[in-house]
């Protein structure tokens, strides 16, 4: 086992850790942080795959590297949207977590729109 595989194991741990955080942490912002850990774990796994595919005189397979760059940008956009929605939720309702029970009722169309 060389050190590249160590990064693979670290990636597996990050994915598990992040997933646990997403499921169990009640606070929305913390869920978003944990989601990012899962994302970076998956990206690191791609990095390990790329590193192992080093050939033809370059340090790694460039295709997974391109996947990761695309993935990082997409994950950032998603985090930005999620954070903004969490802030909106906070300013509308004062909530920064999901209610423990699922919503019993959806918005009534007769209800006035929010300000």
């Amino acid at each position: 086992m060389n050190t590249t595989e160590w990064f693979g194991i670290a990636a597996a741990l990050l994915i598990g850790l992040g997933l646990f955080g997403v499921i169990t942490h009640p606070m929305l912002l913390r869920k978003i942080l944990a989601f990012n850990l899962v994302g970076t774990g998956v990206f690191l796994l791609f990095g390990v795959i790329a590193r192992r595919g080093a050939a033809a005189g370059i340090d790694g397979d460039p295709v997974p590297h391109a996947f990761v760059i695309t993935g990082i940008v997409v994950a950032f956009s998603a985090s930005a949207l999620a954070v903004t929605m969490a802030l909106k939720l906070k300013s509308d309702t004062g909530e920064s977590t999901f209610p423990d029970d699922p919503p019993a009722d959806a918005p009534d169309p007769a209800a006035p729109p929010r300000p």
Binding site: F35, L45, I49, A82, L89, F98, P103, A106, P107, A111
Partner: protein, 508 residues
């Protein structure tokens, strides 16, 4: 626009190829939405309607070419051969989905303008900008899903769908919709991460993301099983399969009617379509296995539990939304059913269900929107007399309901008939019970919705706003298409055959 149209005509007239059409089907709505962002929401409606014409033309040209040549149309984007480059591919299944999407997007675009007017003098409003941009984005991203033939390209398309669909949930700004949207977003994000993890596992062993190459190479081993499981779970979260359906009813029923129609009829089918690709094209050896049975159990849970929840709803839009969560369950029954002799029947039953549910559900949500506009609410107990004010729409609602319940000769009847016969062919009797029980539940909640609309009006009833005749005929047209699918099932089955991999039993 003119330039696009010109090169389009040129492409269509080329004797060979025509693969450029596949790129154009995605590129055209994207260019249109970029132009709306540039010029502002005031031009949203005009640009969308202008892009519908070439868009429908492109879809028609792809369908025509695939239908007449009876082979799949492929395009290597930029001329780069897979596995280095990526490929788009339209088989019969893609064509059915492309046509359905184009028709539904056109219907929504014609239905919606009333709700997104820009007052004179203003350059745009929040809703006008966001709605038209996201409508086109949903069109582009769904087309990417249906045409994508590369697992990573499909990941980007999945993310596009999420970014396009979530704003539609909170667009109207009602209380509770941000919460619903955020739930949806978190499920969608985790779902696409699990999907991406699954693709990473496949890439680590096979060094490609191309579906054809992977399908030829994958073994039936634990790595492939794990990656199929990860991708399926991720996509199930995005499709809102029970027990991950929590975000769907509040999200769909809180949105504007046009948006609800898009979300229920199309968006959830996008991620389901990918599950279909994975199970039937990438790794067909896994259908009918214990893993597939587990997926089917979740589907059965959705059919039964969400069906009961739908019966208990007191508001029309929520009832329709819970019905979506229940009807999605049927789609997941096809994975255990696709076993041995039932393989092809299960697939075609699933496809009939996607198509007829799409048209029927879009029609229903739009009708519900008209009812809310006329009555100011959608409380079932107080909807008496609606039929008198909108007779055409009521007929549409009845037709759509018949299709959902599965009464002959609607599309829903063919769908459930195919599912039943594949259950019989593969001798899996418990699923027969689930399908029949689900049909009874659908009948129960649809009767509940209809009985209040049809019952005679109190004398004092007056609609709040005049009912739009265009909208009435639009919802009727959609319901009639759901009916038509069932009356001429040969068109669908003959299209579905095109470009399918060889049947499982014919393989070594």
């Amino acid at each position: 626009m003119m330039h696009t149209l010109h090169s389009l005509l040129e492409t269509a007239s080329r004797p060979h190829g025509g693969g450029d059409l596949l790129v154009l089907a995605i590129l055209l709505p994207i260019v249109a939405l970029l132009l709306i962002v540039l010029t502002g929401g005031r031009f949203g409606r005009a640009i969308t309607l202008a892009s519908l014409v070439p868009g429908l033309f492109i879809t028609g040209a792809i369908a025509h070419r695939v239908w007449t040549t009876r082979t799949a149309l492929v395009e290597r984007v930029g001329g780069w051969e897979p596995p280095l480059g990526l490929m788009l591919r339209a088989d019969g299944l893609s064509v059915l989905m492309l046509v359905t999407t184009a028709l539904l997007v056109a219907a929504v675009a014609l239905y919606a303008p009333r709700d997104f007017r820009v007052p004179a003098g203003a350059p745009e409003t929040r809703t006008s900008l966001v709605f038209w941009v996201m409508l086109l984005a949903i069109w582009a991203s769904l087309n990417s899903i249906f045409l994508g033939h590369d697992l990573f390209n499909l990941y980007v398309a999945l993310e596009l769908i999420a970014f396009a669909a979530i704003p539609l949930v909170y667009l109207e700004g009602k209380k509770g919709t941000v919460m619903a949207g955020l739930r949806y977003l978190l499920f969608a994000l985790m779902g696409s991460m699990l999907y991406l993890l699954g693709t990473a596992l496949l890439y680590s062993h096979y060094g490609t993301m191309d579906l054809t190459r992977l399908a030829a190479a994958v073994n039936r081993d634990w790595v492939v099983a794990l990656s199929v499981a990860l991708m399926t779970v991720g996509l199930m979260a995005k499709t809102a399969l029970f027990p991950m359906h929590l975000w769907l009813p509040p999200a769909h029923s809180g949105a504007t009617p046009a948006a609800s129609a898009l979300l229920s009829a199309l968006v959830v089918k996008g991620s389901f379509f990918l599950i279909l690709r994975i199970w039937f094209d990438l790794a067909p050896a896994f259908t009918g296995t214990p893993g597939a049975q587990a997926v089917g159990v979740l589907g059965a849970g959705a059919v039964l539990i969400c069906g009961v929840l739908a019966v208990r709803q007191t508001r029309l839009k929520l009832l329709i939304a819970y019905s979506t969560a229940a009807q999605i369950g049927y789609l997941f029954l096809i994975f255990p059913l696709a076993k041995g002799a039932g393989f092809e029947r299960a697939l075609s039953g699933g496809v009939f269900h996607i198509l007829s549910h799409g048209f029927a559900k879009a029609s229903m949500f739009m009708t519900a929107g008209m009812i809310v506009a006329a009555c100011g609410h959608d409380r079932l107990a107080e909807l008496r007399g609606v039929m008198k004010t909108m007779p055409v729409a009521t007929i549409a609602f009845v037709l759509a309901a018949l299709s959902l319940v599965g009464v002959p000769p609607t599309g829903g009847f063919i769908a459930k008939g195919q599912l039943l016969s594949s259950a019989v062919l593969s001798a899996q009797w418990p699923w027969v019970v689930v399908i029949l029980a689900g049909g009874l539940l659908t009948g129960a909640y649809m009767f509940r919705a209809l009985s209040s609309c049809i019952s005679p009006a109190p004398l004092s009833f007056q609609p709040l706003a005049p009912v739009s005749r265009i909208r009435e005929w639009l919802v009727l047209a959609l319901a009639v298409i759901a009916l038509w699918i069932g009356m001429f099932p040969g068109v669908t089955t003959r299209t579905l055959e095109i470009g399918r991999p060889a049947p499982l039993e014919a393989r070594p």
